[in-house]
C-alpha cells in the first residue's frame, strides 16, 4: 500500500515524520535543473539549427540626397492636428526617416496638453490601412483622373452658378476653408452646402440660443469647480475638450490641489459612462426622466436664488414628483450646488434636447458660475449658426425630387452614419452625377458614380481650430500614399483652380492673413503646432431668458422601453470603425471587445428574462434590429442603450463587426426613441475580457479605496508600504538607477487611452474576436474594473494592470531558459530570442500580465500596416511570451542620448507610452532612487500600496489608493 494512503496512526513512533533533508532539493538533478538543462539543450540545438543557413543578403539603399534634418536612426517629431467633429486636437507625430510611426499629443495644444486618446492613436493605423482607396474609379472600374476632373469642372462652372450642385463636407473649423467657402458662394451662389456630422453639438448650440439668444459653445475650467454635475454627459472621455477637462478634473481629485480641495462629481445618466464610473454620487435615470430631473433641479435653484428667475420658473414649471431616490438626490445636489455658488459647473451631453442644455445655461447663470469657471463663445465650427446644421433633410428632399445634378461628398459616409428616415442609401443613385471622396470604400462611395481617394490627415495641409479658438496648422507627415485630395484642393478646383496644391493654398492664405514677418510666423506655427494668441474672445452671455421652459419637462405619452443611442466611447461616430486597435479595445465600461451590445439594467434584464449574449430584437416604427444583450450594472432600468458607430459595411469579405445602430436613429426623435424588445432565442458569444467584476475576499490586497473623510482620519498612520518577508530569494539590485512606476487610481478615469498607446508603441498585435474569446488578447496593459455595492447602483474601481516588475519576480524563478531575468536597473526583462514558450512564467505570475503569441500574428502582415510598427521594438514571433517592458526602448534610447553627450539623464527624460498618453497624468515613471523624482515622491505617499503585497514579490509598480468624496447626506 502506498504510504500516503495510510492513516496517521500507521506512523511508527520511532520513525521521524519528515526525513531530514526532505525539504532540500535532491542530490541528483532536481526537476528544475533538469528542465533548465533540457531547455538549454533545446535552445542550443534550435539556435544552432537556425544558424545552419547563411543569413539572407540585405541591401542598404542610401538617400539620393539626404534631407538635412534627417539623421537615419533618429526619429523626428512633427506637430500637426486632428479634427474631431470640427474641433482640433494637437498631435505630435514621430517619424522614422519619413515614416510616421507613433502619434502623441502636442503639449503646447490646449485641447491635448500632451495627452492623446485612443482615437488619435488609431489615426496611424488608418493611414496605413490596406483597405484604403488607391485609385479613382467609376462604378467600380478604374478611370483616368481627367474623367473625374471633367465632372468637377462642370460642377464648378461659373456660368451655371452651381445649380443642382450639392456639396457634403464633414465638420470643419478651418479658416482657409471658411474663406474658400465664402469665395465659392460668390462664384456658385446656387450650390447647396451640407455638413455631415453624425454626433453634432447642435442641441448644445441651440440650447445656448434658447437661453442667451445666440449659438454658443461652453468652455469649462474644471480646476475651479468644487462641484460638477454631468447630466447624461461624458465630459471626461468625449467632446471637443475631453483631454483638457480630464486633466483639470484629475487635478481637483487630489485632496491637496493648489486650486482647492477635492471636488465632488454628481452624474445623472442612463448608461454608465467613463464619467459616470468616476462619480461620487450617481443616479441612473431613463432619458425622459433626465429632463424632468433637470426641471426639478432648476426649480429648486431658481426658487432659492429669488428674483426674476424664481418668478419665471415658478410660473412655468410645476412642482414635479421624481420618486424617492431621485428626490433625495436632487435635494442634496441642490443644497451642495447652492453652497458652492460661483464654483460649480453643470454639463450636459450632446444627445440631450436643446431645452436641457438651455436649463444648464440657466443653472450655471443662477449659480453665478462666472468666466473663471465657465464661459461662452461662438463655436469655431463652420456652419454652426445654421439652423439646419448637420441635417441632411434638405439633401434628402432634393434627391427625392430628382433635382440633384451633381453630388459631391467629401470624407463623409452619409449613407451609413445618418438618420435612417433620410433613406440616403436608397436615394443616392438618384443624383445624376455623384462623386465620393473618401479614405475607404463605404456605403456612400459604393452608391456614388465616382469613388476617389481623399488624403488622410497625416497627408494633408490644412488649418483647424480648437474649442477655445486656438488655430493649428495641419502639416503632412508624408506625401499622399494614394494621391488623395484634401478638402481645400477640392474647393479650389470648384473655384476654377486647375492645379491646386494644398500647401500653396494654405501658405497663400496665411500670407494674406499675416503679411508681417510671414516666414517667421509660418515656421513657428508649424514647429509649435499652434498659432500663439489665436484664442477667440469669450462672449458675455447676459441674463438667460426663460421662454423655453414650457418645452423642458414635457411628459411623454408614448409606450415602450426607451432606447438611448449613444456615441461609442471608442469608435466615436464610426469614422474609425474598422481599425483593429479600437475594435479590440475593451469597452471602458463593460470590458466588451469586438461588439456593441444592447445594454440592459440588471432590473430590466431580470424582468424581461434577458441574460448576457441573448440576441434581442429592437423594433420601432417598422424598423428592427437584432443585437446581443449585455447586462450592465448601474444602467437605468426602464431604458436600454446601444452604441452608434459599429456594424460598418465590409467590402473585403471580412465579417461585419457589431450592429449598425444608425438603423434605429430617427431624425425626428433624436437619440432617444422608444422600442419594443423581443427575445429571439438565439445566443451570441460576447468577447468579454474580464469575467467577473466583483472582488471577493482579500479585495483590500488588490484594490484600495476610501472616502475622503476616512482617508483623512487614517492619514496619521503614515505609509502603508511594509515589506513582507518573502519566500523568494533574490539579490539586491546593483545599479544606482532603479526604474519604477506609480499609478494614481484617484486620477485614472479608465478611459483606456494608455492601452492603445501601449499597443502602438510596442508593436502589439490584435488577435480578433475569436482570439479574445479564447482569452488570447495581447494587450500588455489592461484596465481591470471592479464593482462594489449593489448592481443597481454600483461603485466602480478602475485599475490599470501591467507587469509589476517585481523585485522578486515569480516568473523569473520558473523560466527554464532564463528568458525572463532581472536587469541591474530593476526591470523584469523579457528576452524573446531565449523564450521557448513553456508559459511557466505566465502560470506563476500572480498578476496575470504575461501574454503568449499563439500565432505568428505579424508574419502574414505584408500590407502597408507593417509600416506602423515601431522600429525600436522587436516584432515577436509565434511561441514567445511577452509583457510590459516599462518601454525599455525609450529608457535605453534616452540613456544612450544622455551618455553619448556626456550628461546625466534627467528624471523627466524617460516617459513610457502609457504615461505620455494619459490625459490625467495618473501614471508616473522614473528613477525611484532619485529623491527629486515624481515617482519617488508618490511612492512614499500615504496613499501608496502594492497589489498582492502579501506574496512578497515586491512589485516596482505601486498604486495610489482611490478616494471618493460622496455627499454625506446621500450616504
Amino acid at each position: 500500500m502506498p504510504p500516503l494512503a495510510r492513516g496517521r496512526s500507521a506512523f511508527r513512533a520511532d520513525e521521524p515524520e519528515f526525513v531530514f533533508g526532505q525539504d532540500q532539493p535532491p542530490d541528483e538533478l532536481s526537476r528544475r535543473q533538469f528542465l533548465a538543462l533540457s531547455g538549454v539543450t533545446l535552445a542550443a540545438a534550435s539556435a544552432a539549427l537556425s544558424g545552419c543557413t547563411r543569413a539572407p543578403a540585405e541591401k542598404i539603399v542610401p538617400y539620393r540626397v539626404q534631407p538635412s534634418e534627417i539623421v537615419p536612426g533618429r526619429p523626428l517629431h512633427y506637430a500637426t492636428a486632428a479634427t474631431w467633429d470640427g474641433y482640433a486636437r494637437g498631435l505630435l507625430v514621430e517619424s522614422h526617416e519619413g515614416r510616421p510611426s507613433k502619434i502623441e499629443g502636442n503639449p503646447q495644444h490646449p485641447a491635448s496638453l500632451g495627452a492623446s486618446s485612443a482615437e488619435e492613436q488609431a489615426l496611424l493605423l488608418e493611414l496605413y490601412d490596406p483597405r484604403r482607396l488607391r485609385a479613382i474609379s467609376k462604378r467600380g472600374a478604374p478611370v483616368s483622373q481627367a474623367e473625374l476632373l471633367s465632372v468637377l469642372g462642370a460642377a464648378g462652372d461659373g456660368v451655371r452658378k452651381g445649380r443642382g450642385v450639392h456639396l457634403v463636407l464633414p465638420a470643419l473649423s478651418s479658416p482657409l476653408v471658411a474663406e474658400q467657402l465664402a469665395e465659392l458662394a460668390l462664384r456658385l451662389p446656387e450650390l447647396t452646402l451640407h455638413f455631415h456630422v453624425p454626433l453634432a453639438r447642435r442641441a448644445a448650440w441651440q440650447g445656448a440660443k434658447l437661453a442667451f439668444g445666440k449659438v454658443l459653445d461652453t468652455r469649462v475650467d474644471l480646476r475651479r469647480a468644487d462641484v460638477v454635475l454631468a447630466l447624461d454627459a461624458d465630459p471626461l472621455a468625449r467632446g471637443p475638450n475631453a483631454l483638457g477637462l480630464a486633466r483639470a478634473f484629475a487635478e481637483r481629485r487630489q485632496p491637496s490641489s493648489r486650486y482647492g480641495g477635492m471636488n465632488r462629481l454628481y452624474v445623472v445618466e442612463t448608461a454608465m459612462s467613463v464619467t459616470g464610473a468616476n462619480a461620487d454620487q450617481r443616479l441612473a435615470l431613463p432619458p425622459s426622466a433626465i429632463s424632468r430631473f433637470v426641471a426639478a433641479l432648476l426649480r429648486k435653484i431658481a426658487l432659492a436664488s429669488g428674483g426674476e428667475a424664481a418668478a419665471a420658473v415658478a410660473q412655468a414649471l410645476p412642482e414635479l414628483t421624481l420618486g424617492d431616490q431621485a428626490e433625495r438626490f436632487v435635494n442634496s445636489l441642490a443644497a451642495d450646488l447652492l453652497q458652492h455658488r460661483a464654483a460649480s459647473a453643470v454639463l450636459v451631453g450632446d444627445e440631450q434636447p436643446a431645452e436641457v442644455h438651455a436649463a444648464a445655461c440657466a443653472l450655471n447663470a443662477l449659480l453665478e458660475n462666472g468666466e473663471h469657471v465657465l464661459s461662452y463663445a461662438p463655436p469655431v465650427v463652420l456652419g454652426s449658426d445654421r439652423d439646419d446644421y448637420a441635417s441632411l433633410q434638405g439633401l434628402r428632399d432634393a434627391l427625392a425630387a430628382g433635382s440633384v445634378e451633381t453630388l459631391l461628398v467629401f470624407d463623409s459616409d452619409i449613407a451609413y452614419a445618418s438618420a435612417v428616415d433620410w433613406e440616403l442609401a436608397r436615394l443616392l443613385p438618384k443624383a445624376k452625377r455623384s462623386v465620393c471622396f473618401g479614405l475607404f470604400r463605404t456605403r456612400t462611395s459604393a452608391a456614388c458614380e465616382f469613388e476617389a481617394p481623399a488624403a488622410h490627415v497625416l497627408e494633408s495641409w490644412l488649418d483647424t481650430r480648437a474649442l477655445d479658438g486656438t488655430i493649428s496648422l495641419v502639416q503632412p507627415l508624408l506625401s499622399p500614399l494614394y494621391s488623395g485630395t484634401t478638402v481645400s484642393e477640392l474647393l479650389a478646383r470648384l473655384s476654377g483652380d486647375p492645379e491646386p496644391s494644398a500647401h500653396d493654398l494654405l501658405k497663400r492664405f496665411w500670407q494674406r492673413a499675416r503679411p508681417d514677418q510671414f516666414d517667421e510666423f509660418w515656421e513657428t506655427a508649424l514647429a509649435r503646432g499652434v498659432v500663439t494668441g489665436s484664442e477667440s474672445a469669450t462672449y458675455p452671455p447676459g441674463a438667460p431668458s426663460f421662454a423655453w421652459l414650457g418645452g423642458l419637462a414635457r411628459a411623454s405619452a408614448e409606450h415602450g422601453i426607451e432606447l438611448s443611442l449613444r456615441a461609442d466611447p471608442r469608435l466615436h461616430d464610426g469614422r474609425l470603425g474598422n481599425q483593429p486597435w479600437l475594435l479590440e479595445l475593451p469597452c471602458p465600461v463593460t470590458k466588451l471587445a469586438w461588439d456593441n451590445a444592447v445594454w440592459f439594467g440588471p432590473g430590466l434584464a431580470q424582468q424581461l428574462g434577458v441574460a448576457n449574449g441573448d440576441v434581442v430584437t429592437l423594433s420601432a416604427s417598422g424598423r428592427s434590429l437584432s443585437a446581443p444583450a449585455l447586462v450592465v450594472p448601474g444602467h437605468a432600468d426602464g431604458a436600454i442603450s446601444l452604441a452608434l458607430g459599429w456594424g460598418r459595411d465590409s467590402f473585403d469579405g471580412t465579417e461585419v463587426v457589431g450592429v449598425d445602430a444608425y438603423q434605429l436613429l430617427d431624425s425626428t426623435r433624436g437619440h432617444h426613441t422608444r422600442v419594443r424588445v423581443t427575445r429571439t432565442g438565439r445566443h451570441a458569444e460576447l468577447a468579454l475580457t474580464q469575467d467577473t467584476m466583483r472582488l471577493g475576499e482579500g479585495a483590500e490586497s488588490i484594490m484600495l479605496s476610501r472616502t475622503l473623510s476616512e482617508h483623512e482620519s487614517q492619514r496619521a498612520s503614515g505609509s502603508r508600504i511594509k515589506r513582507q518577508l518573502s519566500l523568494y530569494s533574490g539579490d539586491a539590485a546593483q545599479s544606482p538607477r532603479q526604474w519604477g512606476m506609480t499609478i494614481d487610481l484617484n486620477a485614472c478615469t479608465g478611459c483606456s487611452a494608455c492601452v492603445v498607446a501601449c499597443q502602438a508603441e510596442n508593436n502589439i498585435p490584435s488577435v480578433g474576436k475569436r482570439g479574445v474569446l479564447k482569452h488570447r488578447e495581447m494587450h500588455w496593459l489592461r484596465i481591470d474594473r471592479y464593482l462594489t455595492g449593489s448592481d443597481a447602483a454600483p461603485r466602480v474601481l478602475q485599475q490599470p494592470m501591467a507587469c509589476q516588475h517585481c523585485e522578486k519576480a515569480p516568473c523569473e524563478y520558473v523560466c527554464p531558459t532564463g528568458a525572463t531575468v532581472h536587469s541591474s536597473d530593476g526591470l523584469n526583462q523579457m528576452v524573446y530570442n531565449r523564450c521557448v514558450g513553456t508559459r511557466f512564467c505566465s502560470n506563476n505570475c500572480p498578476y496575470k500580465v504575461r501574454r503568449f503569441n499563439w500565432f505568428d500574428y505579424h508574419e502574414s502582415d505584408r500590407s502597408p500596416r507593417a509600416l506602423a510598427q515601431n522600429p525600436e521594438v522587436t516584432v515577436r514571433a509565434r511561441g514567445v511570451m511577452e509583457k510590459c517592458t516599462y518601454c525599455v526602448q525609450r529608457i535605453r534610447t534616452a540613456e544612450i542620448r544622455a551618455r553619448s553627450s556626456g550628461r546625466a539623464l534627467a528624471a523627466s527624460e524617460v516617459q513610457t507610452a502609457c504615461e505620455q498618453a494619459c490625459p490625467t497624468r495618473a501614471i508616473a515613471f522614473g528613477d525611484v532612487n532619485d529623491p527629486s523624482s515624481e515617482v519617488a515622491r508618490l511612492r512614499a505617499s500615504d496613499r501608496a500600496f502594492e497589489v498582492l503585497a502579501e506574496l512578497g514579490t515586491a512589485p516596482r509598480t505601486r498604486y495610489l489608493m482611490k478616494l471618493t468624496n460622496p455627499n454625506p447626506e446621500l450616504a
Binding site: 539543450t41 542550443a44 540545438a45 539556435a47 544552432a48 539549427l49 544558424g51 545552419c52 543557413t53 547563411r54 543569413a55 543578403a57 540585405e58 541591401k59 542598404i60 539603399v61 542610401p62 538617400y63 539620393r64 540626397v65 539626404q66 539623421v71 537615419p72 536612426g73 533618429r74 545599479s735 531575468v821 536587469s823 541591474s824 536597473d825 526591470l827 526583462q829 528576452v831 524573446y832 530570442n833 531565449r834 525600436e872 521594438v873 522587436t874 517592458t885 525599455v888 526602448q889 535605453r892 544612450i896 542620448r897 551618455r899 553619448s900 553627450s901 556626456g902
Partner: protein, 306 residues
Amino acid sequence: MSYFGRGACSGAGIGVRGAMPHCDSFFHTRAVTAADCFGAQRGFAGHTARLTSLVPARAHAGRSGPAQGTGIAELPASDADIASNEREVSEPSRALFPVWSTTWFRAALGLAAALIVSLPVGLWAWERTPYVNGMNTPRAQPVKFDHRHHVRDDGIACGYCHADFARSSSAGMPAVSVCMGCHAQIWTNSRELAPVRAAYFAEAPLAWERVTRLPAFVFFDHSIHVNKGVGCVSCHGRVDQMAQVYAVKSFTMQFCLDCHRSPEKELRPLDRVTDLEWSAGSPASGAALVRELSVHPATDCSTCHR
C-alpha cells in the same frame, strides 16, 4: 517479499515481451527477464536473480507467446511453479543471436551517445564558421568602391561619408550626393561610376550589399560606442586595407559580451576613434580611459534586446 513486484513489472515493461529474447542474447548468454532489463525495480532483485539464472529465454518466449496471452504476467505465479521451471531449464539451450552481436550492439549504443553529444556541438560550431556568419568574405558591390584608395590615398576620414556614426544608432551610408560631391568633378565619365550617376539622376537606386550584419533582435547603437572610446577598428577591422569590405568579426553575442565585460581592452582616446592604426601604448591606458570616459557598459539583456 511477495509477487507484489510482478504486476508492476508487467505493467511497466510491456512490449518487453517480444524484446526479452533480445535482451537475453545481447547482454548475456544467460536468460534475462524484464526485471533485469529494467533493473530499476530493485525491490524484487533477489527474486529475479533466481528466475534469471533458471528460466531459458526460449522456454519463456514459448510460454508467453502471443497465442498464450500476456507475457510476464504469466510467469510462474508461485514458488511451486518456479520449482517446475527449474526442472525445465536444466536442458541445454541455443542463443537466438550470435556472440558478436553484443559487440555490435555496444558499438551502436556508443555511436548513438556520441551523436547526441556531437550533433548540437557540431551545429554550435558550424554556426560559428566564417561560411555561415559571413566573416572574411568580401561581397560584390554594385560599385567597386575601394576603401584603400579613398582612405589611404585620398585621406578621407570615416566620418566624411559615414556622417552619423557619432550621433545616431546607424553610422550612416553616404547619400549618393556625397559621392557626387567629388565625382561630379573627377572621373565623371568612368564606367565604374555609372551606377552612382544613375542613382543620382534618379534612374535606379544604388543598393549596396550589407557586409556587417546583426540579427534583427539586436539593437546596436553606434553613437554610444564611439562616444565612449570604442574605435571603428574594434569591430570593422582595417577597412583602410580592404579592396572590398568584409566582416572581420563574427558578431556573435560572445563577441559583444567580451568587450562589455572588460571594455578596457578596446578603449582609446576620443580623438583616436577613427584612427585605424592607433594602438594603446600600455595596458594601463585602457583602465585609465574607463575612469576618464566613465565607461560602464551594461550586460543586461535589455541593453541590446528590446
